[in-house]
């Protein structure tokens, strides 16, 4: 039974997406409650799977019982299960928020469509994590980008269309680059199953270096576009800032991370450490990560729209993760994984709290945040916790990420990366602190200084508090998570 759980998870999400239109005539809360039920089911099954994988080891699942040479194969190991659990947990929190937020700016008749898209998004993300097949990954990736485009453009505004169009064009280029890489690998090995391809690549490396080299180049670049790694970040700020707040949170905290996880899979499982080191991909990654960490923050400093600022901040934070990957060591990978978790939590908290401000006060400009802390204390407290985490203050997850990354950098013998890390942290402080200061310490002329919990739906407040609590809790006791992540990193090789 347990071995059937992965496919059940996928089908649950797909099924949920399909039945939402059937409830069109019923009350909308029925849909959201049902969706929440499905999410919880998948959450529980992910926990069961995680326990199973840790105690009994990884297992394969052949779709339709076809042989792995022909059919699609799912690989359920610590890596895939842990990250699917992370995605589902984070999405549950954001989902609960989105039911209260009324997905700001979306027309009421579009609600159903929004949730359909959300569940297809989840289906695709879980599929990407589970699958052990390069071409299947491409299929899920396409599903994911098309749903993302629809979510971005669901607001029916001109700027959304522009952002969505730019997103779809760039991401298509990325997908096609990836597909080109897969084709090159298929040419050499004759398979698309990751393990078989990997064997073929190892043995064919001396025979067809040019093919493999080109394949690496195209695949890394293609996924780099989708993961918004620095020079390709150009679509991200617009897309993430125009989308409804809850989906900005999902896009920034989860979707981008999924692409990074694909990159990790490809680099470590398909090509292996030896080959990527032989072609100096780590150097490329470290360089673009470092530039991204600095430039993302510098662009963020100059933003006046708070959601655009958060988008650029994501660009910088993705740099941290890529940096961890680029170190090509166990420690680096573990640090990158931890930062995926910690950035997921922090960025979700930031987008959701800012979303609450936008929902309640209709303020988007960072210069208008004066005194907001008194009108919306919970949202701004959570914002502050997450922002301090971004700076890397102890007691938050951000500090543990920074510590891990720093130690990994020393382990890799790259002291200069620590300097980049510190400079980037300082630049983060430069744009997050003024917002906190003006929210809590400056007076708003129209409002009196009375601190009162904001009147926004409870379904928005509770997720915010939970996120803030999680940031501090994991920041205080990261040991368990780190050992799980170590197991996940080990399961990759």
């Amino acid at each position: 039974m347990i071995t059937q759980l992965p496919i059940i998870n996928l089908l649950l999400f797909l099924g949920m997406a399909l039945i939402i239109p059937l409830f069109k005539k019923r009350s909308f809360s029925l849909t959201t409650n049902l969706g929440l039920g499905v999410l919880f089911l998948v959450w529980i099954s992910s926990i069961v799977l995680l326990y199973h994988v840790i105690t009994e080891g990884a297992f394969y699942y052949q779709l339709g019982n076809y042989d792995r040479m022909l059919g699609i194969e799912l690989l359920i190991n610590t890596f895939s299960v842990l990250f699917s659990l992370f995605i589902v947990s984070l999405v549950i929190i954001i989902y609960i928020y989105s039911t209260g937020d009324a997905t700001e700016g979306v027309a009421e008749k579009e609600y159903g469509r929004y949730y359909i898209l959300l569940f297809i998004l989840l289906f695709a993300m879980l599929g990407i994590l589970y699958t052990n097949d390069l071409f299947n990954t491409y299929v899920f990736m396409e599903i994911l980008s098309i749903t993302t485009v629809s979510i971005i453009s669901i607001k029916r505004k001109k700027e959304n269309y522009t952002a969505a169009f730019r997103y779809v064009m760039l991401n298509e280029v990325g997908s096609l680059s990836y597909l080109f890489g897969v084709a090159l690998l298929y040419m050499i090995t004759g398979y698309t199953n990751i393990e078989l391809v990997s064997e073929g690549v190892q043995s064919g490396w001396s025979l067809y270096p040019a093919n493999i080299l080109t394949a690496i180049g195209f695949m890394v670049t293609g996924i780099g576009i989708k993961a918004a790694i620095f020079p390709f970040h150009i679509w991200l700020p617009d897309a993430h800032s125009t989308a409804p707040s809850s989906s900005s949170a999902i896009l920034s905290a989860v979707v981008v991370k999924v692409y990074i996880l694909i990159m990790i899979k490809i680099l470590f499982r398909v090509f292996g450490i030896d080959i990527i080191q032989a072609v100096h991909i780590p150097t490329v990654l470290l360089v673009i990560a470092s530039i991204g960490m600095i430039m993302g923050s510098i662009f963020a400093i100059a933003q006046t729209d708070v959601k655009r600022m958060l988008g650029y901040s994501s660009v910088a934070q993705i740099g941290y993760i890529v940096m961890g990957i680029g170190m090509v060591s166990m420690l680096g990978l573990q640090a990158a994984f931890f930062h995926i978790f910690s950035h997921g939590l922090m960025k979700a908290a930031l987008f959701l709290s800012v979303g609450a401000v936008i929902y309640h006060k209709k303020i988007r400009n960072v210069n208008e945040f004066d005194g907001i802390g008194f009108q919306m204390p919970v949202a701004m407290f959570v914002f502050s916790i997450a922002a301090l985490g971004m700076i890397g203050v102890p007691l938050t997850t951000g500090f543990i990420s920074k510590l891990n990354l720093g130690l990994a950098a020393l382990d890799a013998g790259q002291v200069v990366l620590i300097v980049v890390l510190i400079v980037s942290g300082f630049l983060n402080a430069l744009y997050y602190l003024p917002i906190m200061i003006s929210a809590f310490l400056k007076d708003n002329k129209d409002q009196q200084r009375v601190m009162r919990v904001e009147k926004i739906p409870k379904t928005m407040l509770v997720p915010l508090v939970v996120l803030g609590g999680l940031i501090i809790a994991i920041g205080l006791f990261p040991g368990e998570l780190l050992s799980l992540l170590e197991a996940a990193a080990l399961s990759l090789t």
Binding site: P231, D238, A302, F399, K402, G425, R449, M451, L476
Partner: protein
């Protein structure tokens, strides 16, 4: 969320005056202070076995059980850290409607901290209090209190109690008192944690909390200048924190442990890395300590904070920077106990020490020079804090530089930490009282206040005599020990330190001149008309100040008490030559003719500087604007950008002239370094963001070609 409910008018809420002698807040808090002092005295006397107090406690069963339980309580550090936080919750819950009960909660929480600190004394005397809490923050945190920590704890908690007593009265005239006391409590907790930290991670954790919590104290006034000062404070604090973080990573990576006992064996073999580590640590802690090149936040932040906060910032918090340097240097860079004097580990310490001595000397000089130029009392005191921190840092430098003979510098540094905490907070309190009654803090506009505020004038005189190092007051003791230290550095070490000693003397004279100036302009002279109506009554302000003044005189008259109780046990646990400690520290005679003569020279020079300076208007020098960093960096940058743009685009140059012009502003008060950086980022953004977004296909092509070519080339190589 009722915390700030009454915000904005909290402190204007009626202070109900209860009838009766014991009903008045002043009397109550004075009694609390008295109780604390008596308890401290009894406890120390008891533990040292005099008067048979301990045997009295031992005889009564219940007392004995309680006593034994308390002194063997392993979680005492956590309790001590938790008390201020409990106080914060208490004042949020109960203190909402009455300022008196709120302030009583604050005072009592401080009192309990003192009592629990005292219960650590027996354990500290033996092997110290150690507590490890694994798994928090991944690496686990730990607490450890030895005599050095205990000394810091004592001075901190005592001073905090007095300042809280003072704050009750002072904060009546400020807004948002609840917020003030909440963050005061958090800061207190963080300060205690910093002192009791058993490893660098714990120290860093509490240090960061302290930085952020005390930011709220700095910015409390919420005026434009407090925001500027706060901006400076928080960003310098963050930079310092990052420096410590990097040092911590390097240390953990190379040694594998952060506890304050390790590192000796492996650090010796590290080569240049050990200098990087100590350099970063000194830089990081030095920012908090107000060390010379990175002191710039201090003279801005301390004056704008409300007086109780500035008293504690100058009295306690900057000391934590010095404490941090001392702690890491003595634990990581000192050889193990009992190793012979020629231990190679001393070589590193020697090199580090000589750098620190010079840093201290520069800090002293910079502080005093700028202090003489100030007209604002609190700014002047802040500059003196820098200068006095220079003394302490110099002492630490001597303690490191001379290896196993550095006990004199160590003793001087610790002694001066204690003394400076006392007289500098007292001086800030005096400045606060003057401001409280007159609303003026420019000393040139004040005068003759000794008639109106006789007690304040007296304590100010005592504190001024203390800081100037006049015999019979506490400053004399520590300054002469420090003087001995620098003379020894010259004697046992390098000849160059002869000049350091000369500078030391001149700076002490500058300090004297500066406080003659302060006392003359504020309390003597002719009184301006508008202050003739002041009618002060005895209140908490006076209680707090009087107690500190009494302690200052007590230390000045009994120099040996602090030495034998607090400092000699520390020296004995350090790898200093015990022979040296016995002869020169335990057997140190104060008030020798030589010391007194040096002091006489200093005082005469001080008067000379004061008279000379007032005659020739040397106290109002203007520092040229082009010397500032902002100007040197951004003016050329602005020039280059503008001209390059003109050259490339001619009249179509897209830069917004207005924003760019702000970059080159000559006035540094309006626009600081970071502001200019933000403007640069804006200019950059306007210029390149859109262009970058539009050139997506180009970026893709360039990148993929670049990567492929790079891989091919690297493979071919």
């Amino acid at each position: 969320m009722g915390l700030f409910k009454k915000e904005g008018k909290t402190c204007n809420m009626p202070y109900v005056k209860k009838k009766g002698f014991f009903g008045s807040f002043t009397i109550q808090s004075s009694l609390v202070v008295l109780f604390a002092l008596v308890f401290i005295a009894l406890f120390i006397i008891g533990v040292r076995g005099d008067l048979g107090i301990l045997s009295f406690v031992q005889d009564i069963y219940v007392l004995r059980v309680i006593y034994d339980f308390l002194i063997h309580l392993a979680i005492l550090p956590v309790i001590i850290i938790a008390f201020p936080v409990l106080g914060v919750f208490g004042l949020m819950l109960f203190g909402r409607n009455s300022c008196n009960s709120r302030d009583m909660i604050v005072i009592f929480m401080t009192l309990f901290t003192i009592l629990f600190t005292l219960f650590m004394y027996p354990a500290v005397l033996e092997e110290g209090v150690h507590l490890t809490i694994p798994s928090i923050l991944w690496l686990g945190i730990s607490f450890s209190v030895d005599m050095l920590g205990f000394t810091m704890l004592m001075i901190t908690s005592l001073l905090w109690l007095l300042v809280m007593v003072y704050a009750h009265e002072y904060m009546k005239k400020e807004m948002h008192c609840n917020r003030f006391f909440v963050f005061m409590g958090i800061t207190y907790s963080a300060v205690l944690g910093t002192i009791m930290a058993g490893d660098l991670l714990t120290l860093f954790l509490f240090f960061e909390i302290m930085t952020f919590a005390s930011y709220m104290l700095v910015i409390h006034g919420q005026r434009e200048d407090s925001y500027h000062a706060g901006y400076n404070y928080i960003f310098m604090g963050i930079i310092g924190g990052f420096a410590i973080l990097v040092a911590m990573m390097l240390l953990y990576f190379t040694v594998g442990d952060l506890a304050f006992t390790s590192g000796i064996a492996t650090l010796g073999e590290l080569g240049a890395m050990k200098y990087w580590i100590i350099g970063l640590l000194v830089f990081g802690f030095g920012i908090k300590a107000g060390m010379a090149p990175v002191h710039v936040w201090l003279p801005r932040a301390h004056p704008v904070a409300p007086t109780p906060a500035s008293a504690l910032l100058s009295g306690i918090m900057i000391k934590l920077g010095a404490y941090g340097i001392l702690r890491v240097a003595t634990s990581y860079y000192f050889p193990l106990e009992g190793t012979p004097g020629g231990d190679p580990v001393w070589l590193t310490t020697h090199a580090v020490g000589s750098a620190i001595i010079w840093l201290g000397i520069i800090t002293m000089a910079v502080g005093v020079f700028f202090a003489l130029q100030q007209s604002n009392i609190k700014r002047m005191l802040a500059y003196h804090s820098i200068s006095q921190m220079g003394y302490i840092v110099m002492g630490i430098g001597v303690a490191l530089y001379l290896g196993d003979l550095g006990a004199m510098g160590y003793a001087g540094a610790i002694y001066h930490i204690i003394n400076h905490a006392l007289f500098k907070s007292l001086l800030f309190m005096v400045a606060g009282v003057v401001f409280y009654h007159t609303g003026e803090s420019n000393m040139y506009k004040l005068g003759g206040l000794w008639r109106k505020l006789p007690l304040t004038a007296t304590v100010c005189l005592i504190a001024a005599l203390g800081i100037s190092g006049i015999p019979l007051f506490n400053g004399f003791i520590s300054k002469s020990i420090l003087h001995h230290g620098i003379v020894e550095a010259h004697y046992y070490g390098h000849g160059l330190f002869y000049y350091a000693e000369l500078i030391f003397i001149v700076i002490s004279a500058g300090t004297v001149a500066s406080f003659i100036k302060l006392f003359y302009y504020v309390f003597l002279r002719k009184m301006p008309e508008q202050y003739k109506s002041i009618k002060p009554e005895y209140n908490n302000l006076d209680t707090a100040m009087a107690v500190i003044a009494i302690i200052i005189v007590f230390i000045g008259l009994n120099p040996r008490f602090i030495m034998t109780t607090f400092i000699v046990p520390q020296l004995n646990s350090m790898p200093y030559s015990s022979e040296f400690v016995q002869t020169y520290i335990v057997g140190l005679t104060f008030f020798t003719t030589e010391d007194l003569l040096t002091m006489l020279v200093v005082v005469i020079m001080g008067f000379g500087i004061f008279i000379f300076g007032t005659k020739f208007h040397l106290f109002h020098l203007k520092i040229p604007y082009w010397l500032s960093l902002e100007y040197l960096v951004f003016y050329p940058m602005n020039w280059v950008i503008r001209n390059a743009c003109q050259l490339m685009y001619g009249d179509e140059c897209k830069y917004n002239e207005k924003t760019l012009k702000r970059l080159a502003l000559k006035n540094n008060k309006e626009i600081g370094f970071l502001d200019r950086f933000v403007i640069m980022a804006n200019v950059f953004n306007v210029r390149y963001e859109g262009r970058m977004i539009k050139s997506d296909a180009f970026i893709y092509t360039v990148f993929i070609t670049g990567v492929l070519v790079f891989m091919l080339v690297m493979r071919a190589l």
